[in-house]
């Protein structure tokens, strides 16, 4: 799936280890965090010789967040791959919601590696220099993008919304909603299934106790009991595997958010454009009024000048000149904004199409692997109960 020219094809990227660290944060308070080892490997060819180059460095989750914020702001038309969840969500009772839990850390490690690979195989993002330095250099410009990201959450109304983007935003909202629901219920299903399997373990104990007082039936009962223990124990691996499926769904839950962000950025641009156009129109009108002397629009200045005396012709000339300059500037700006807008729409839709294909492919794969997991679980069930049945038949 990765572009032939992209970084992923030239460089092997892994997040191979996770380590607990303690350090002092910005407020000089001691804190515990997990650091992840990013290892890269690529072939360097020089003087007709090839060598394997290896590099590695440790980064923590918050640094990944900075990278992603940077990419989000720098490439507003791209559906930027999401990070694995910040906090454990959609957990069922056996899973820990603790960020330091080894299972959570392990799944996060995999998620972070997946994130880097997604970026490295994106035709546009993989070429980014900051991304490259994130992978290979300790120095990483700490990019603060809060203000631009905050704007995404502001509410404003666009007069002429692009229908396609509106539909897409609606789709991403619905997708987020349905995947959230799915993940919540799946967690409950996992919880209940765990209960069903584990209670069967009690059969193992009681069959063993019962077999002690039986003569002919004893052996059959005892060995059947062992199979019940096997059955009860099997659920742990089954549900651990299912967590991978949940993680795949989660990635697309967050991807839906990224998709929504692109729509919002377009809305922002559109709004900006409309505001600029509006401003230009009002300036032109002001200019016209000053030049012809007719007041078509009400303005406070106009009123005060009427009340407190008109301005001198020189003053008026000066004003017109300023306005004319502003209008010229405004028209140039509007032109470039329009161009920007069209470029944005073109490249955004290209990436959205790419994203749709990727999504359909990935989700299909996820569903297939889920079905395969279920098939494996059914086969294990049949095996265990067939074994138990044979033991019972020997009673």
């Amino acid at each position: 799936r990765a572009h032939d020219n992209c970084l992923a094809k030239k460089m092997e990227i892994t997040v191979s280890e996770a380590e607990k660290r303690t350090g002092r944060n910005a407020m000089n308070i001691q804190e515990t965090y997990t650091a992840y080892l990013i290892e890269t490997r690529w072939v360097m060819r020089a003087h007709s010789q090839s060598m394997w180059m290896l590099d590695s460095l440790w980064r923590r989750y918050s640094e990944f967040e900075l990278l992603r914020n940077y990419l989000s702001v720098t490439y507003p038309h791209i559906v930027v791959p999401p990070l694995p969840e910040k906090r454990a969500d959609f957990v069922w009772h056996k899973l820990s919601a603790d960020n330091m839990d080894p299972d959570f850390v392990e799944r996060r490690r995999i998620g972070l590696e997946n994130f880097l690979l997604r970026v490295a195989s994106h035709p546009v993002l993989c070429q980014d220099k900051i991304f490259y330095s994130f992978l290979t250099q300790l120095f990483f410009p700490f990019f603060q993008a809060d203000s631009r990201l905050k704007a995404l959450n502001a509410t404003f109304r666009v007069k002429n919304p692009d229908k396609r983007f509106t539909e897409l935003k609606h789709y991403s909202d619905e997708l987020q909603s349905v995947i959230s629901h799915l993940l919540r219920v799946r967690a409950r299903v996992a919880d209940r299934l765990y209960g069903v399997y584990k209670v069967h373990g009690n059969y193992g104990r009681v069959f063993s106790e019962w077999s002690a007082i039986e003569k002919e039936m004893g052996d059959g009962l005892q060995s059947a009991g062992h199979h019940m223990d096997v059955y009860a124990a099997s659920i742990d691996d089954i549900l651990e595997e299912e967590e991978h499926y949940a993680d795949q769904l989660k990635e697309y839950l967050f991807y839906a958010e990224a998709l929504r962000a692109v729509c919002r950025k377009h809305e922002l641009m559109q709004y900006d454009l409309e505001m600029a156009a509006q401003d230009l129109t009002s300036k032109k009108q002001q200019c016209e009024e000053l030049a012809t002397g007719t007041v078509r629009t009400f303005s406070l200045k106009g009123m005060t000048s009427k009340l407190f005396g008109q301005e001198t012709p020189e003053q008026r000339e000066a004003k017109i000149k300023v306005l004319e300059e502003q209008i010229q500037e405004g028209e140039e700006q509007l032109k470039s904004k329009n161009l920007e807008g069209r470029d944005f729409v073109k490249s955004a839709w290209a990436d959205i199409e790419r994203f749709k294909e990727q999504k359909n492919h990935d989700l299909k794969e996820a569903l297939i692997s889920y079905a395969v997991m279920q098939i494996s679980m059914c086969k294990k069930g049949i095996q265990v109960w067939t074994n138990a049945k044979e033991c019972f038949s020997k009673m």
Partner: protein, 388 residues
């Protein structure tokens, strides 16, 4: 072979007026082989439950069909209708008239109204199976199957008339051999009966635990089912949102629905077939422990009387007849009980073998149904748009 009728195995003459001894004699003379499938001469079935609505009450009757070549029956075939009360009456009569034998249990008499629907199909079917088992166990028993009350139960058109007569007949025939639970203290229980008692205690304990586990599993399965029923449709909702993924998601939703149905069937089967048999055996153990107690009492009475005689130190050539009768009773009881226990152990082993294999089978079927469902959607999930 010599005609042993009239003598106990130890050589002492049999008191033929004691029905207990004659029945046990019959027991010892008859070979167990008589009960093989080939030589079986009595077949009883319980089926066709029907609801009767009367002004005073509503109740269910079951058809009891008998096929036999035995001389004790006037006709080769009988078909009568009986209700639970009648089975209960039969059991009481058997306990009274055959106190030295293990009488199979009946399904529980009282059901809490409002909690269980006494007229639901499931309840009636479960009860019918238990009543059928009850009669079949009596049929298989070499002594109980020849009991007069059993005969009447199977054949009489008007059982109620016989029930009323029964009280009069009882005193006439001197049938009711009620062993006095006179509070005699037992010196020492023979090892084998002590062992049986201990076995039954542990056995019913373990069955109780299994019953609780099985109930817990059913409960957990039903809670799992509730969540699954919410889970499946969400895939359907998602499918409506998508274009290319719409068929796979819809397929997944349907697949989960099929698994739900399979699970429902498994839980129903366990409730209707597994739990009742388990409970039956718990009841069986209880009634067996009562029979053991009765045996203890009979032995205690004998020992007390024997001691009384020894204390009197009378120089008699013959042991007094009432002490003789007691000794007789003890030995008959022990022999009957031993034979019944052996038969019970064997039947128990077969019953549990069948029950547990059945439980394993139902689980296998459940997983096979789910497997089929999941395997059938793989091609649907893998389907490429170009091939459609």
């Amino acid at each position: 072979s010599p005609d042993l009728s009239g003598f106990l195995p130890n050589g002492t003459p049999v008191d033929t007026s004691s029905p207990a001894s004659s029945s046990s004699l019959l027991n010892r003379l008859q070979l167990d082989d008589d009960l093989d499938g080939e030589t079986r001469d009595l077949f009883v079935t319980v089926d066709d439950p029907k609801k009767h609505v009367c002004t005073m009450e509503t109740y269910i009757t079951y058809r009891v069909t008998t096929k036999t070549t035995r001389a004790e029956f006037d006709l080769p075939e009988y078909s009568v209708r009986r209700r639970y009360q009648d089975f209960d009456w039969l059991r009481n009569k058997l306990e009274e008239s055959q106190p030295t034998h293990l009488i199979p249990p009946l399904p529980e008499k009282f059901v809490v109204k409002g909690v269980v629907d006494r007229f639901s199909e499931e309840f009636v079917e479960t009860r019918r199976k238990a009543l059928d088992k009850f009669l079949k166990r009596i049929t298989d028993h070499p002594v109980l199957s020849f009991n007069d009350h059993f005969n009447v139960f199977l054949t009489a058109k008007d059982l109620n008339a016989y029930k009323k007569q029964g009280m009069a007949l009882l005193s006439k025939m001197g049938e009711s051999v009620k062993y006095v639970t006179g509070g005699y203290k037992l010196r020492s229980r023979p090892l084998e009966f002590a062992a049986i008692g201990e076995y039954l205690d542990t056995f019913s304990l373990k069955l109780g635990t299994i019953d609780r586990i099985a109930q817990r599993i059913i409960k957990e399965q039903l809670e799992y089912l509730v969540e699954l029923r919410e889970y499946g449709p969400v895939y359907s909702t998602w499918g409506a949102l998508e274009v290319e993924l719409s068929e796979p998601l819809e397929g997944l939703s349907a697949c989960i629905g099929n698994c739900c149905t399979a699970l429902e069937e498994l839980s129903e089967d366990m409730t209707e077939d597994f739990l009742p048999v388990l409970r039956e055996y718990i009841l069986y153990s209880e009634s067996m422990k009562n029979v053991l107690k009765k045996r203890d009492q009979v032995q205690a009475e004998y020992e007390a009387k024997l001691e009384a005689v020894a204390l009197k130190k009378e120089d008699r050539p013959k042991v007094p007849t009432d002490v003789e009768k007691c000794q007789d009773r003890v030995e008959c009881f022990n022999a009957d009980l031993k034979a019944d226990m052996e038969r019970w152990q064997n039947n128990k082993r077969q019953d549990f073998r069948q029950l547990l294999m059945g439980m394993a089978d139902k689980n296998i079927q459940y997983y096979e149904k789910c497997l089929t469902a999941w395997e059938s959607i793989i091609p649907l999930l893998q389907d490429k748009p170009e091939t459609k």
